[in-house]
Amino acid sequence: MLIPRHVRRVLIGVTAVVLLFIHIPLLVVLVNSFNTSRVFGWPPRGLTTQWWSRAVENEGVRSALLTSIKAASAATVLALVLGTMTAFAVSRYRFFGRSVISLVVVLPIALPGIVTGMALNAAFTTTLKPLGIGFGLFTVILGHTTFCVVVVFNNVVARLQRVGVSLQEASADLGARPWTTARLVTFPLLRSALVAGGVLAFGLSFDEIVVTTFTSGPGLQTLPQWIFNNLFRPNQGPIVNAVAAGLLLLSVAPIWAATKLSADPASASGRL
């Protein structure tokens, strides 16, 4: 045993409390989505499934969900490409300004979302608007990609550092063309890092609201925007509850996917 028993007991105690802290609020959301009351009150006076069926039938929710999926998919693909390219450049080459890059990459996620959002909004207004490109799905994707690059970058860089270059060199020495090496050696080595980075990027984008608010066009609504707009509207409370609970159940999907696709389930959550 690595850790003395009495220390371990303390650790288990702390962890148990933390798990309660993490999961009780989520459980409350689930239970509350069956609350019969129109106006929130705890404990629920009665249980009903009507908010769930109304949430499922709700077209606004459905189209917002579709918008979110479109935006997150596009941002993820772009982030995978850009993040991987940057990761290769940083870990395979030495060049002037190399150390600055890791800072620049992390900046969009480290700076407050409102700063990123406001900056992009100001820039798009002055550059894209005159070109006739209005705010909409396209600008949202541009914004989301900016802060998604970092998670792909971090995962790929870590993997490249771990595996080194010996396998690629060996492949090249054995006469493989660069493309063949990339396909048969490099990509399989990177696959789980790409999956982890991609899932995280998708999650970040799917969940984002601040940058979205500033880059979204009139009429376009992602799911978080829908929730936010309806959270404070009379009569919509119970449906928001059901949507919230539904999203909670849906959030098991990426975890499950990451566990399935990654060889080491413990590192499934990837690197932030």
């Binding site: 129109r38 009150g41 009139p218 009429g219 959270l231």
Partner: protein, 381 residues
């Protein structure tokens, strides 16, 4: 029987429309163009996508053949920007957008004879400064509401008749007062000062010069100490009143109804002696409308007694259409919202965006909304 009545009223409408259009110029083609693009506040043009049971857009499409695209505007600024793109036929504009649209040439004067339902719209909403210019109507009134004074009737006795109950530094209810968390609430303080400190010379709670503005801010800074909690979302107020941590403050009628509906706490509302702030929305026709006839049909549809009743009840405001009061699901709805109460409506100062141009001959010496926002930050601390 119900169905017959509906049919009869439809036939009546059609007949009136025919007669009216016959009276107008013979060259005017009133045929619908098959499509309509409108910008609306959330809740004004429900097509069943929020709740399948809440839908007055689909019946409109079936009746007129105008395929309707609804765009939700989140702020008045956004609505103005969208209207200027020229892509839309109309908008449900609030008082802080209407004048900008009228003087910007973005909306056209409305031929009210082409909107038969206009005749029976509340007279106190017609030809008002925020929806008309040069004696012409620039839109069709839709609905309105007041920011009323609400109190817990078991705790607050006697029933208050003045806003002093929330502004007096020695209010009996200090610590249990609520106020609306938005820069526009400064106007409520200005309105109170307008009536209680005539020396300040406030004529319009939205056009304040620096001295008047500072007085309103000072009043709110002092009120801050007595505030239990501010409310921004309606649920904040419903919760705090339901729990008893707030007992008096500014409210929307919807909030009072929700609290009342729970049956735990009894509340009453009033427009106090000083009057109240409020909102009034107007359907306006774009000057560049590609589907003006469909927009006319929409303006008539949305102010028709039944539909206007439906919208008003869903949104929680007084319908502009006087005949709507016969069609509300809740028969006391119009009384609750004072929909037909002329005196009540006259005591409301409708929300507009404060601008540097005072608009009353004083020139550009008024405090604009950017400074209202900064002041509000300072008040909350």
């Amino acid at each position: 029987m119900h169905r017959n009545r509906k049919l009869a009223s439809l036939a009546m409408l059609a007949a009136t429309a025919l007669v009216l259009s016959g009276c107008g110029s013979k060259t005017t083609n009133t045929e619908g163009e098959g499509a309509l693009n409108i910008i609306v506040w959330a809740g004004y043009a429900e097509d069943g996508s929020t709740d399948p049971k809440v839908d007055w857009v689909t019946p409109f499409e079936k009746k007129t053949g105008c395929q309707t695209n609804v765009k939700i505007g989140n702020t008045s600024d956004e609505m103005v920007t969208l209207m200027r793109s020229g892509e839309y036929d109309g908008v449900s504009a609030s008082g802080d957008a209407t004048l900008r649209l009228i003087y910007g040439g973005d909306v056209a004067a409305v031929d009210t004879s082409r909107v038969p339902n206009y005749k029976t719209i509340s007279s106190f909403l017609k030809d008002r400064p925020w929806n008309s210019a040069d004696g012409k109507m620039y839109g069709i009134p839709h609905g309105w509401g007041a920011n009323v004074l609400m109190w817990n009737s078991d705790v607050v006795k006697p029933a208050p008749t003045s806003w002093s109950v929330v502004f007096d530094p020695n209010s009996k209810y200090a610590g249990k007062i609520t106020a609306y968390d938005s820069p526009i609430y400064i106007a409520d303080a200005a309105l109170y000062l307008m009536k209680t400190q005539p020396a300040l010379g406030i004529k319009d709670p939205y056009s304040l010069d620096q001295k008047q503005f500072d007085a309103a801010v000072a009043l709110l800074t002092q009120q801050r100490k007595n505030i239990g909690s501010y409310w921004a979302a309606y649920t904040d107020e419903v919760s705090s009143f339901g729990q008893g941590s707030n007992v008096v403050g500014t409210a929307w009628q919807v909030n009072a109804n929700l609290i009342q509906g729970e049956g735990k706490v009894k509340v009453s509302t009033t427009v106090p002696a000083e009057g109240a702030t409020g909102w009034s929305d107007t359907w306006m026709l774009s000057s560049k409308a590609k589907h003006p006839n469909c927009m006319y049909k929409w303006m008539d549809w949305i102010t028709s007694p039944k539909v206007n009743a439906q919208v008003a009840e869903y949104f929680g405001e007084a319908p502009a259409q006087t005949l709507s009061c016969d069609y509300t699901a809740d028969k006391t709805f119009c009384d609750t919202y004072h929909a037909l109460d002329n005196k009540y409506a006259e005591s409301i100062y409708y929300w507009t965006t404060p601008r540097a141009e005072c608009g009353d001959g004083r020139g550009k010496i008024c405090v604009d909304y950017a400074d209202w926002t900064k002041a509000w930050t300072a008040i909350k601390g």
